[in-house]
């Protein structure tokens, strides 16, 4: 007893706080193209190193290199760029609307656009997504109208969610986009259930789920991995490690001791860790996991190593807890800029085209915003419309006590 040191507890803290220069010494991105691409039927135990590495395709000059280069057609690359730029244009426009007091809340995916865009294009359109609020690119990629997104964000009279959900918590069964929950992590294990159902029915559709680094601490995350592993469910389990969960750095979710991808190893699942700001690498690892799942080889865990370039939401101020220059200095760069550079290097894109596309998308989101503002707030709709929006869909058939309450609301 006397020889034992006094116990002390480790409380993780980021290395830098506001007022200090950013510290990226722990990031150390490896050169692009350095890792092998195993066959999709490889044993999970044979590729454990990929859970600790970082798969990158785009090098610093914007060239695609190495075994993971998916060799995409320029048309696909331009589609990806358009999805990413649409996401950013909508995000910027909606945040401006929030700052003007027109909407209550918004969550951007700035810096993370390559993940939803690259994955949407690697998945089949009828594969089912169980997203968080930073995969709006998936909806955009699948052709969901930007105008409808604005209606949802505005909770206006044309809101497909009838004013019931916080902005950005979209849902569209027709676009394979599961209704987003504000409770983190719940969708991860639900996606496994959807994938199990698809397999039970002998279908050929697979599921994909997303979760943030912070929410990997939730029990749902581990249950998802357990169920996915034991039933070999056809699902892709994506961890978007954007370094920050509101003000908590990824070390507080366990990122100091090991990688998030490595969580898969104890479950016997294959894990890929990818540069999440590299559209080509994201596409490539997703295509690998898609092929594996669709070949009945089960689930893959993918850690997307990225950076949340802005606040958690409009209710957040990151300058209170992280260095102001951290976002700009992120060593893996900006995903849109990197894909643009690549397309230009290929001779398949130009500054003029880029400027024109940005202007086109700005007009598109402004038009969507005008549509939302023209529709008018649902909260000011006719009482009958409001009663239906508020009391409908609680149950398949509205029971007596809700009918009474709807009547009471109408009577004031």
């Amino acid at each position: 007893m006397a020889d034992s040191p006094r116990l002390s507890l480790h409380i993780p803290e980021p290395t830098r706080r506001p007022g200090e220069p950013p510290d990226f010494s722990a990031v150390r991105p490896p050169l692009a193209g350095g890792l092998d691409r195993p066959a999709v039927d490889v044993e999970a135990s044979a590729i454990r190193d990929l859970a600790y590495g970082l798969i990158r395709v785009l090098d610093d000059d914007g060239k695609a290199v190495g075994a993971w280069d998916p060799h995409l057609e320029p048309e696909t690359l331009r589609s990806g760029l358009r999805i990413m730029m649409t996401t950013r244009a909508l995000d910027d426009r909606m945040v401006r609307a929030q700052r003007q007091g027109k909407i209550t809340f918004y969550a951007k995916s700035a810096g993370e656009e390559a993940i939803a865009a690259g994955q949407a294009l690697a998945l089949r359109p009828d594969d089912m997504g169980f997203p968080t609020y930073r995969q709006q690119g998936l909806l955009i990629a699948r052709g969901y109208p930007v105008a409808a997104m604005a209606h949802q964000v505005y909770s206006d009279r044309s809101d497909p969610m009838q004013g019931r959900q916080l902005p950005c918590l979209y849902s569209s069964r027709a676009h394979g986009f599961f209704t987003i929950s504000g409770n983190l992590g719940t969708q991860f294990s639900q996606a496994v259930g959807w994938a199990m159902a698809s397999a039970l029915k002998g279908d050929d559709r697979i599921a994909a789920a997303w979760i943030g680094d912070g929410a990997t601490a939730e029990a749902d995350f581990y249950e998802a991995l357990t169920f996915a592993s034991i039933y070999r469910a056809p699902v892709i389990l994506n961890i978007v490690n954007n370094q920050w969960a509101i003000s908590s750095f990824q070390g507080l979710a366990g990122g100091e001791e090991t990688t998030f991808a490595a969580r898969a190893i104890g479950h016997g699942l294959p894990a890929l860790r990818v540069d999440g700001n590299d559209f080509l690498a994201v596409y490539a690892v997703t295509a690998w996991a898609v092929e594996r799942a669709r070949s009945n080889l089960g689930a893959t865990v993918i850690e997307h190593f990225t950076y949340r370039a802005e606040g958690h939401s409009t209710s957040d101020d990151p300058s209170r807890y992280r260095p102001a220059e951290e976002a700009k200095g992120w060593p893996l760069g900006d995903p849109i800029l990197r894909l643009k550079t690549h397309l230009i290097a290929l001779g398949e894109w130009s500054e003029e085209q880029h400027t024109a596309l940005a202007a086109e998308l700005d007009a598109l989101v402004r038009e969507a915003q005008r549509g939302a503002e023209a529709a008018g707030p649902l909260a000011q709709a006719d009482p009958t419309v409001k009663a239906q929006a508020m009391f409908g869909d609680v149950y398949a058939e509205t029971p007596w006590h809700l009918r009474e309450q709807a009547k009471a609301m109408g009577e004031g």
Partner: protein, 337 residues
Amino acid sequence: MASMTMVQALNSAMDVMLGRDSDVLVFGEDVGYFGGVFRATEGLQKKYGVTRCFDTPIGEAGIVAVAVGMGAYGLRPVVEIQFADYIYPAYDQIVSEAARLRYRSAGDFIAPLTIRAPYGGGIFGGQTHSQSPEALFTHVAGLVTVIPSNPFDAKGLLISAIESDDPVIFLEPKRLYNGPFDGHHERPVTSWAGHPASEVPLEHYTVPLGSAAVARPGAAVTVLTYGSMVHVALAAALDSGIDAEIIDLRTLVPLDIGTITTSVEKTGRCVIVHEATRTSGFGAELSALVQEHCFYHLEAPIERVAGWDTPYPHAFEWDYFPGPARVAAALRRAMEA
């Protein structure tokens, strides 16, 4: 028609639904090969195969979550939580997810799942095998909460639950699984054999959700109860000689308010009985509703008989369990007021 215990009736309901609808599937801890710790799923895996009835790992949140995902796919999962006491890890998936999918997606996604869980005391199960958590679910908008009290209702209600497009919490009074226990623990155990409600059709039938039953007609006082306590209330009426009208609620939400008000307006007196702890129990809601709907018909204060507000104590089963003596005393108080 066959004579069935409640366990057999529940098994028959799942058997019928697995046979009728290829989208129905049954899973949970120990439910597959073994047939469940209470035997409710016995033989189903053998009959329908491992893809229709299978075992899961011990992860209640995961069990409910995959059921939610399967419901989103278009299946109709029936899951067993081995004891209602084990349901708490799944509470977020039930409350924030299953109960809210239809509303938050404006009908785009639904959660047509049935969550079966044995609940209640009388088996010396201690605090983790005896609880009655129904009020945790009746408080949640979007959930249907069902509690049968006999084999016939159990099968008909379970089929209705499985066919419902709403998520249903189906709580099974485990002390009634094999016989109509009336709280007289000092007497020999009775079986369902010979009980009128043990005559159960082999085929498909339903007992509608949201509909109460009059377990015993009477003129003196109304008893609102459900599950095991229906039988305890029947014993209390017999023991006390008070002509109680005993309403078996069967579904707590949505509640059959019409049957309740008709009875209380007739008797002018009301006793509410449940096993669950008293404070914020479902009896509080019932009491408030009776007061709101029947105030000018009431001739006595509403009485509540409930579990004490303590964890369920292992050694003091019969001091805790609201037996026929406590119910009879409440009936007498209601009559004397």
